[in-house]
């Protein structure tokens, strides 16, 4: 039978990919090499051989506290950010809310998700720091002395409060398309078949949104875990988080064994890799359902 001309993929492929060589060379030099150096260096010993002691030593202080704190902060900001982000996004998107609220929120979230680091840290110092505007307002007008009661911005809790400023907008950006994807027809069909709003959410709404929600929370977790500048700007390195500790070690505070910093970096990489592995199938599932 007559067959249309089929491009023979084999021989063309072997020549064509050379066009991407500059790109691969570049990523090799400036992405994989540095990354590899760190990850491999975690297993090197000061004396020149290989060792697991750097990595196994992570379960001792101060690393243990750092990882624990980092994981706690990331979990808290991921979950709270997730819930708040969903609540706000849903409030803005649902029927009844004027359209400008939704587009304003999306625009703002796009910008706010990138408010990070030093400027954000300062903004919160100006708000809730010892002489912050809100602190003083509460002290002078409401007679509530938060610092007197033990609160301080320069702590794990403070970091969590500040991190939410970019976590929540990130959540909004990620979950808004999923909420959009909840087709009106599903609601109506469910209602037509006799379901109450609660039954709709229970059997259709929540199950359909779940992969997106989980994926988003995972994304938030990773985002928080990797953050450095904000915590640094807030506490000048005083709070015990893994990225801060790595920075401190590298900058020379404790340096008979440079591989310790690398071991911590390896630990970070592991956590983030696990997140990524969990995220990708969730992402695919939610994309499939929003067709």
């Amino acid at each position: 039978m007559f067959r249309p001309d089929v491009k023979s993929g084999r021989s063309r492929l072997s020549l064509a990919w050379i066009g991407a060589l500059p790109f691969f060379a570049y990523t090799l030099l400036f992405l994989f090499l540095p990354a590899g150096e760190v990850l491999v260096g975690a297993f090197k010993s000061v004396h020149g051989g290989w060792t697991l002691s750097n990595v196994t030593g992570l379960r001792h202080e101060p690393y243990y506290t750092a990882f624990k704190t980092s994981i706690e902060v990331s979990l808290v900001t991921a979950v709270i950010g997730g819930i708040a982000g969903f609540g706000i996004a849903y409030a803005a998107i649902r029927e009844g809310t004027p359209r400008w609220v939704r587009s304003g929120l999306t625009t703002f979230s796009g910008v706010a998700a990138n408010f990070g680091g030093i400027p954000l840290a300062f903004a919160f110092i100006a708000t809730l720091g010892t002489i912050g505007i809100a602190t003083q307002f509460m002290k002078n007008q409401l007679h509530i002395d938060i610092y007197g009661n033990g609160f301080t911005l320069f702590s794990k809790t403070g970091v969590e409060i500040v991190y939410l400023y970019f976590q929540i907008p990130l959540m909004i950006l990620v979950i808004a398309p999923a909420i959009d994807g909840l087709k009106r027809e599903w609601r109506e069909a469910a209602s037509n078949l006799g379901a109450s709003p609660f039954q709709f959410w229970r059997y259709v709404g929540v199950p359909v949104l779940m992969p997106s929600m989980l994926g988003a929370v995972i994304l938030l977790f990773g985002n928080s875990f990797a953050a450095y500048a904000t915590a640094y700007g807030l506490t000048s390195g005083a709070v015990s988080l893994v990225p801060i500790l790595i920075g401190a070690y590298y900058s020379g505070n404790v340096l008979d064994n440079p591989h310790l910093a690398q071991a911590m970096a390896f630990g970070m990489f592991l956590v983030l890799a696990v997140m990524m592995v969990a995220y990708i199938p969730l992402q695919r599932r939610s994309a499939r359902w929003s067709k």
Binding site: A20, A35, A91, A113, P119, Y228, A229, G247, L272
Partner: protein, 268 residues
Amino acid sequence: MMARLRRIAPSAYIWLFLAAVYFVLPLLATFLFSLRSNQTGKCCTLHSYGWVIHNGDFWHTLKISFVLALETIVICLVLFVPTVYWVHLKVPRLRPVIAFIALVPFVVPPIVMVIGLLNVYRGTPAWFYDKPWGILCAVYVILAFPYMFFALDAGFRSIDVHTLTEASQSLGASWPTTLFKVILPNIRVAALAGSFLALAIVMGEFTIANLAQFHTFPIFLQYVNETQAYPAGAVTLMSFGITWAAMLSLLFVGRGRGARPTLIAGGR
């Protein structure tokens, strides 16, 4: 047009109100802070802004960061545009590979990257290792890469690369002509979007600059934060302004293409 419920749900009000308070308050506080006078600790003076504008370091670091950003953008475009074009045109099977590589910077965040980077390139010549235009720019290209890639990828996917290229070549154009006169104008929006993202990244990147000890604009910001409370408010607002301008330009430019604003590494 289908009818919509005309009422706003009460719970929606609450969520949106609380959100507004949480997000506006810090900005307001920064602004008020920036207006406080150094002597009285109270409102209202523009002294801090004056201090910033007359501060040589402010302009110096701003310039460095800005030039760095431009350099990064140029390298990104020169490296990634032809690559993405080539992949879309000739080797589509490589696309998932590149997309996967684009995820690596999320698993190897700046704080991890920087210590490897500085170790690997320790022995390189001073013009590369000691100057921001060398090693710092090199890694900024990597930081910008995922965003550039997704922006360009989306741009290329929205045009029919094959048809345009074949049409151009059948009319007698050479490769460079095709690239510059046919392809580039059509992905202009995507390239601009990627560029604005790169700009925001570089102008806000602190982690690597800090550990590699380069004096960029965010480093200056942190210095002011640690030393001068009220002017810190002024520079913080200015820095916000720059980020906002970049992101809003991005949204403006990406309007017809459904560009979704995304997150930037290293600035957090």
